[in-house]
Amino acid sequence: MKQIQLHDFNGGIHPNENKIQSTTLEILNANIPEKLILPIAQHIGAPSNPVVKPGDTVLKGQLIAQGEDFVSCNLHAPTSGTIGEISLQPVPHQSNMTATSIEIITDGKDKWLEHSGLENYLNAEPEQLIKLIQQAGITGLGGAGFPTHVKTSIPASKIDTVIINAAECEPYITSDDMLMREHSQEVIRGIEILCHILKPKQCLIGIENNKPQAIEALQQAIDKLESNAYHIQVASIPTKYPSGGEKQLIQILTGQEVPNGGLPADIGVLLQNVGTAHAIYQAIDKGEPLISRITTVTGDACQQPRNYRVLFGTQVKDLLAQANTNLSKVSRLVMGGPMMGITLQDTNTPVVKTTNCLIAASKHELPDPAQEQACIRCGMCTQACPAQLLPQQLYWFSKSSNLEQAKAHNIGDCIECGACSYVCPSNIPLVQYYRFAKGEIRQANADKLKSDGAKKRFDTRTARLEREQAEKDAKRKARSEAAAKKQAEKKAQEAANPTPAADSNTVAEIDIAALQKKLDATKLGIEKSKTKLAEAIASDSDKVEILQGALEKAQTKMKDLALKIAQAKKASKATPEATDPASETDPLIALKEKVLAAKTRMEKAQERLNMAKEQNLDTVDALQMGVDKQKAKLDAAQKTLEEASQ
């Protein structure tokens, strides 16, 4: 077997391992608690959809929630029992949030649904195996919880190297270690299945050299293989946090870096956690869906730290009780490792697919954070950063919300491993500062996307309006040109057939023009009151419709009036040198009559308004104002007429 060439990654730290405590005893099956709480989103991607309802009885391994999107995941009943309520329950999350969860009241019988595995996976097509993995609801058991069927669905031709992540670099956690010690053959079997799907040229199991027993067990299991077609090899790597980070492990084992913004597949690598490989074995060979996992229960407050095989949905309190934890001694309850884990507030929180460790830490082992001191730019963080960033520069930029500079210094490449905070002599919570800046950048990007969309819509609208306006203008121009042409033709005609000079009576003409103006104003008044009425309608009852009718009638009358004036004007034009006083006064009298008629109608409208008033309609005020205004206009018109007639 050829020696694997190992590479180093930048930085890294050596925190106290604290792994020995939980490896003294073998893995124990955790008790079946009275109830299980199963969040429907235990993975990356769309939450699964419950396919059971309260009161249903379920068997162990029965599907209870279906992942309907491709990037989603099935969820199965970890034991037999009855579905309780489907409600919001606390879930493992830094914000202590609640999420939709299915409750199972267990019956203690732990009765399996009938199931069977494949006799020989070698006879199965990769697609069939991926389908089975998908049905079994397997997600990455390392930490992020990415659905395994999605990861394995990339074309096999792209993958040269499959890396099994067994580094388990975080302090305290020993679940993978114990799994490999006790189930090495099953783990290797799972890896073989994975290789059968992906057809890599080589398969490397990256494991830190602080797990000699696990390395030995794996090596023995590999040696027992009849044929090692995919060159599965154990690669013992130096113990250094965070060697188990995906990017770091790839760098250690291949010397290559995952390109910025890319995936491991871009450099022909696929990485799976060792626990996931075991879950694949269980799904394919035994037909068992993913319903439990190995979780390390440890910490000073825990009397006997050890690893348990825990059913998903087991509440933390049940697990801690089984491990004889002195809760009063716990100052910090961490789910996951001490470098990247989350703190829990509520012991009702369930164990989920990604829960590799529970640390019931005393104040002594994880003391309260020390007071932050000034950054002295000592650069210890730079030396520790596995992403080759400049943490102290990122700190200054984050602290001053200088997001542009933070981005220019590649804050997005920070993997939040916590190495910088660990070494900082000034006890600055660096990672928290970066999370803040990352959040701000995310928000700013979202806002920009939104405002860009709004701007695009606005620009499109403006362009459309301009285009319509231009079209209108063009039409108008064409019309006015046509009219001018007609006019010119008419003039030319007139010039050709000259008529006697028409010396109009200028005084009468001015009077008529003034009249027309007044009446136009009256018309405007009516229209105004009409809009007011419309408002009234919009706000209230059908009674107003009557008023509206009356006002509309008045309006038509006013239009008639205007028409009459226009006719009168025409008449006055048509009768040049009409020095006869009768011809001057006659149209005025007619007009006066019309105005009076309109006035009576206005009075009728007033009456109707009074009726509305009696019925106590709250729109009366608006109506009243409109009518009053109209009346005033009519009065004014009347006055003008009188003046004109003098």
Partner: protein
């Protein structure tokens, strides 16, 4: 029951800024012992005086700024500044020189810029440069003659007297430094003639002065201790001493014309500067490549000022000049981030 609610990481290494500063102070002890052994107790008195002044000034400004006094004094940064400044000053400089230098270093060079971590210039070197240009006589005539050249050495009482009251007898105890002597004589004498000067007690070639050799070796030892403890990286001292060495080899190979390599390396404040002054993290460059440029710049400037400038030693000015450049150097020497093809250079473009 209420558990602590805090985001990761949860594990941190014990310790604080005070630990770092105390270790640096600890690393100066070999140098202090050598200085006291060869040049009398002057430096001890200066350290005590400067430390008191520094603590009082720091406390006063912290009070004015409404900052917690004890918490900030316990970071030992003021003490470290005082110790490094006192080690740079001539051992028998009058007390008011020390007081002016220290108070200016703490109040103006450090606290007026915002306190620890915010000062662009090395406070100790600002204090030193201020008194060097303001009181040139006191600063050049207060260097002690090596104890072995004095009949009875300098007693503690005599040292106190020299610093605090009578300076009439000062000429009996002081002498120009080897760098000064060599620099001013090299124009008119050959190397062998210069080495006849009693200050070069070790007359064997290459030219050196025993006291200064030991002092520099002691500071080198302290520096290596800090390097081993990971208080700084190798970049700055190696690049600083490397450029100085190369320059004196290529330019100053003729000891009849220039100060020789041995004297550059093992006289004056070379090792103190390379390991204790230039590595001050607050004012130095922080990127790996930037540290090499920064240290190299200091090395070149020290050599240039010592050789062609008017001052016999040049650590303070060289460090201060490179302090100016440190933020700029940082911007253009960012390391290549994981997964990126190239490193970012310079600031982000403003839209």
């Amino acid at each position: 029951m209420k558990f602590l609610n805090i985001s990761s990481p949860h594990a941190t290494r014990a310790g604080n800024t005070g630990n770092v500063m105390r270790r640096v102070i600890l690393a100066t002890i070999p140098g202090i012992i050598a200085l006291t052994y060869f040049f009398g107790p002057g430096h001890l008195i200066q350290i005590a005086l400067a430390t008191c002044v520094a603590l009082v000034c720091e406390a006063a400004v912290l009070k004015l700024r409404h900052k917690p006094i004890l918490f900030n004094l316990m970071d030992y940064s003021a003490v470290l500044t005082a110790v490094l400044l006192a080690l740079s000053l001539p051992p028998y400089a009058p007390f008011w020189v020390t007081i002016v230098a220290t108070s200016f270093a703490i109040i103006v060079a450090k606290q007026l810029y915002g306190g620890l971590g915010q000062n662009p210039f090395n406070p100790a070197m600002i204090g030193f440069a201020l008194v060097l240009v303001s009181f040139p006589v006191a600063m050049t005539t207060s260097w002690s003659a090596p104890s072995e050249l004095l009949e009875n050495g300098i007693s503690f009482g005599q040292a106190l007297e020299l610093i605090f009251s009578s300076r009439e007898t000062i000429d009996a105890y002081t002498m120009a430094t080897p760098l000064d002597v060599y620099k001013h004589q090299v124009g008119i004498e050959t190397a062998n003639e210069i080495l006849a000067n009693p200050i070069f007690t070790d007359t064997s070639s290459p030219a050196t002065a025993t006291g200064w050799i030991w002092v520099n070796l002691a500071f080198l030892a302290g520096g290596l201790f800090m390097l081993f403890k990971g208080l700084f990286t190798w970049h700055i001292p190696v690049s600083l001493l490397g450029t100085m060495g190369l320059l004196s080899l290529f330019i100053g190979w003729d000891s009849d014309q220039y100060v020789p390599l041995s004297l550059h390396m093992l006289a004056g404040a070379t090792m103190l500067g390379a390991f204790f002054i230039a590595t001050d993290p607050v004012t130095a460059s922080t990127t790996p490549l930037g540290k090499i440029i920064y240290g190299g710049g200091i090395g070149i400037l020290i050599y240039v000022i010592r050789t062609w400038g008017s001052y016999p030693d040049a650590v303070a000015f060289a460090v201060l000049l490179m302090n100016f450049a440190a933020p700029f150097i940082d911007q253009y020497t960012q390391p290549r981030t994981y997964g990126h093809k190239t490193a970012t250079r310079g600031l982000a473009k403003k839209d």
